[in-house]
């Protein structure tokens, strides 16, 4: 709201709100989120489960169903094109072509009764008007690019016949098939083993960098963030609480929640140190506390925090924080950390 929208932005979202009316009240999943992603940039949206990050990602592609969801937004622009008033039909041409998505669990995100190749073929057939044969050629190339060995025969396999890592690569190949402007990856590696996780992340990062695609990475896992993202948005209970370049956030988090998240990541250098957890849990989206949503869990909370919601304010170059009492870091500490 308070920032200029520059034309180097690939994606700009202004004041996104999503609610779910229920029998016993309204779930406020997303409460006025702004996002900016530059061309070729990779941005992470971080938060615990239930903070509204997945809902945000789906609503960017207008994939939420009404009912049950109701969405309102001041503006969504993709590469200067405003999607706000696009009809479902027009969105269908955007999805997959200009904006595509990688989901968390490749096992359930792939159609179990269709071969993997066929599911990627569909992208080329739909968006580039290819016939089956031509599409398959491209599919095989796409699978090769994401590091699937023997792509020709893998394409003929059904999802259940592949390993978890291979399945996730199929999803990557699918998302990159038409070289979209923006890829939204919703917890792309959470369902995988740690070693496979790293491999898939490498592929994702390489693909994103070499093809200059913008990436929005949704995750709860800060180690994933440090691998890929350049800018990080921290989300808590439907609101952005902090935005910062990745390195700065890791060095000098301003919001107590960001600090808590960082502390709860075990590091090799931490040997012997206490492993810290944020006490409590994300508030129920129907019963959010008054004032700052984080105050019941915040060690620094004051009366002011209990009373009113702090605004999201600029603090330093390219950084935003939503806190009355942002953490202070002296220069020395910032350097050594």
């Amino acid at each position: 709201m308070n920032r200029e929208q520059t034309n180097e932005n690939m994606l700009a979202v202004r004041n996104l709100k999503v609610v779910f009316p229920m029998a016993h009240g309204v779930i406020r999943a997303v409460e006025g989120v702004d996002l900016d992603i530059k061309k070729g940039e990779s941005v992470a949206l971080v938060g615990e489960s239930g903070c509204g990050k997945s809902v945000t990602s789906k609503s960017l592609m207008k994939l939420l169903d009404t009912p049950p969801a109701l969405m309102r937004v001041d503006d969504i622009t993709l590469d200067g094109e405003s999607l706000k008033d696009y009809s479902e039909k027009k969105m269908q041409d955007i999805r997959g072509r200009h904006m595509s998505m990688i989901f968390q669990d490749a096992m359930t995100s792939l159609n179990p009764v269709m071969t993997c190749g066929r599911q990627i073929d569909e992208m080329y057939m739909r968006h580039q008007g290819m016939d089956k044969k031509e599409a398959r050629k491209h599919t095989i190339r796409a699978l090769e690019l994401v590091g699937v060995p023997e792509p020709k025969s893998r394409a003929r396999n059904f999802p259940h016949e592949l390993s978890g890592g291979m399945r996730q690569r199929v999803l990557l190949a699918m998302a990159f098939a038409c070289m979209p402007k923006l890829i939204i990856a919703d917890e792309p590696t959470t369902a995988l083993d740690v070693t496979i996780q790293a491999q898939v992340l490498d592929v994702l990062r390489d693909m994103q960098r070499t093809h200059g695609v913008s990436l929005l990475l949704i995750t709860h896992d800060l180690s994933v963030v440090s691998n890929i993202a350049e800018t990080v948005y921290v989300m808590y209970s439907g609101k952005i609480v902090e935005k910062a370049p990745m390195k700065e956030l890791f060095r000098t988090p301003y919001h107590p929640y960001s600090e808590g998240l960082l502390k709860s990541v075990p590091k090799l250098s931490d040997e012997g140190k206490q492993f810290v957890q944020i006490p409590g849990s994300v508030p129920h989206p129907m019963k959010k506390p008054s004032g700052c949503y984080f105050h019941p869990r915040c060690p620094y909370a004051t009366e002011e925090c209990r009373q009113s919601m702090p605004p999201l304010e600029k603090r330093g170059e390219d950084r935003l924080v939503r806190c009355f009492h942002p953490l202070k870091h002296d220069a020395k500490e910032a350097k050594t950390a």
């Binding site: 955007i94 997959g96 989901f103 159609n111 179990p112 009764v113 569909e122 968006h127």
Partner: protein, 333 residues
């Protein structure tokens, strides 16, 4: 892997058939020392000596004069080597096989058209209801199904036969016997069969239409909530492509399973419907046999109906295997 599953499945069906066959052999022997007593129960005005003679004759005629295991083997060899299911009690002692073969096509006409009508219309309605979820089309299906499941098919048949047959005279309330006696493969003849079959088929299909519609609706809605449908939407596929290539293909799986399960009930229920419309099928033949205690005929029909069900379930299982690449050995069932 798939092949061995199919082979196993077929062998298992054969095993089940043998169990049914054995049951079939023993049912008339329940509760009596001598099957002849079952076949020819003692009559009130008969002296013991007379009855002994009659039993002796019955034993000889139906091969009960050997030991029970021997009888069982004879039963099997007759059935498999000669296709002989025994001799009916009817005058002239016709072979059960011949009696059944005479009725078989007429029964199949009803069953197959009911099944097709029920499936096609039911699936169509179900898909529409799922698409219009929560709107009046869906609510109507829900209300119709709550009422229909409580109405037995034979009652619907009676009501149809009364209102559409007797009162409105749209369709014959009883089957015209000429349909069978004058049958030839001419257009007129086929039209007559369709005309006579209309009420029985509609009254049987009524319930199954609603049943399949409700099942399809639930399956489609369940699949619509799956992650891969979201993936398909995120790919920008057109709604029709998603519906036919992704949703329906997956929603067919539970429908195929329930189809196999429902066939046994459909075949059994047809007995009553055939009776109401006096249809020249196996159902009426079965009831006639029951009324005359014609055990060879009854058990022959039972065996055939069971064989039909076994084959139908086997076929639906194999269709399932074709539709779902995930099925491997032992995964289903």
């Amino acid at each position: 892997m798939k092949k061995s599953y199919i082979v196993k499945r077929i062998l298992y069906s054969v095993f089940i058939f043998f169990v049914v066959l054995t049951l079939n052999f023993f049912i008339p022997r329940i509760g009596v020392d001598d099957p002849a007593e079952r076949y020819y129960p003692p009559q009130g005005n008969m002296s013991d000596a007379e009855y002994e003679i009659i039993k002796e004759l019955t034993r000889e005629q139906y091969g009960f004069d050997v030991s029970t295991p021997r009888q069982y083997l004879n039963y099997l060899s007759d059935l498999f080597l000669e296709g002989n299911m025994g001799t009916s009690f009817r005058s002239g002692s016709p072979a059960v096989t011949d009696l059944i073969i005479d009725r078989l096509p007429w029964t199949l006409v009803l069953s197959v058209s009911t099944l097709l009508l029920g499936l096609i219309v039911g699936i169509l309605i179900g898909v529409v209801a799922a698409m219009k979820r929560g709107r009046w089309q869906d609510t109507m299906l829900l209300n119709a199904s709550t009422i229909m499941v409580a109405l037995p098919a034979f009652f619907i048949a009676l009501v149809f036969s009364f209102f559409l047959g007797f009162e409105a005279e749209l369709f014959p309330a009883y089957t015209n016997p000429d349909m069978v006696s004058d049958f030839s493969w001419s257009l007129d003849s086929l039209r007559m069969v369709a005309y006579n079959a209309a009420l029985p088929v509609i009254s049987m299909a009524f319930g199954s239409i609603i049943g399949y519609a409700q099942g399809t609706r639930n399956a489609v809605i369940a699949v619509t909530g799956e992650d891969f449908i979201l993936t398909a939407r995120s790919k920008g596929l057109k709604p029709n492509a998603i519906r036919y290539k992704h949703t329906l293909r997956n929603a067919m799986l539970p429908i195929v399973t329930s189809l196999g399960m429902s066939i046994s009930g459909l075949i059994g229920g047809q007995v009553v419907i055939e009776q109401i419309f006096n249809w020249h099928g196996m159902g009426t033949l079965f009831l006639e046999a029951n009324n005359t205690n014609d055990y060879p005929l009854m058990m022959g029909i039972m065996l055939l109906l069971s064989a039909f069900t076994i084959v139908a379930i086997l076929v639906t299982d194999l269709i399932y295997v074709l539709l779902d690449p995930r099925v491997t050995v032992g995964e289903k069932r």
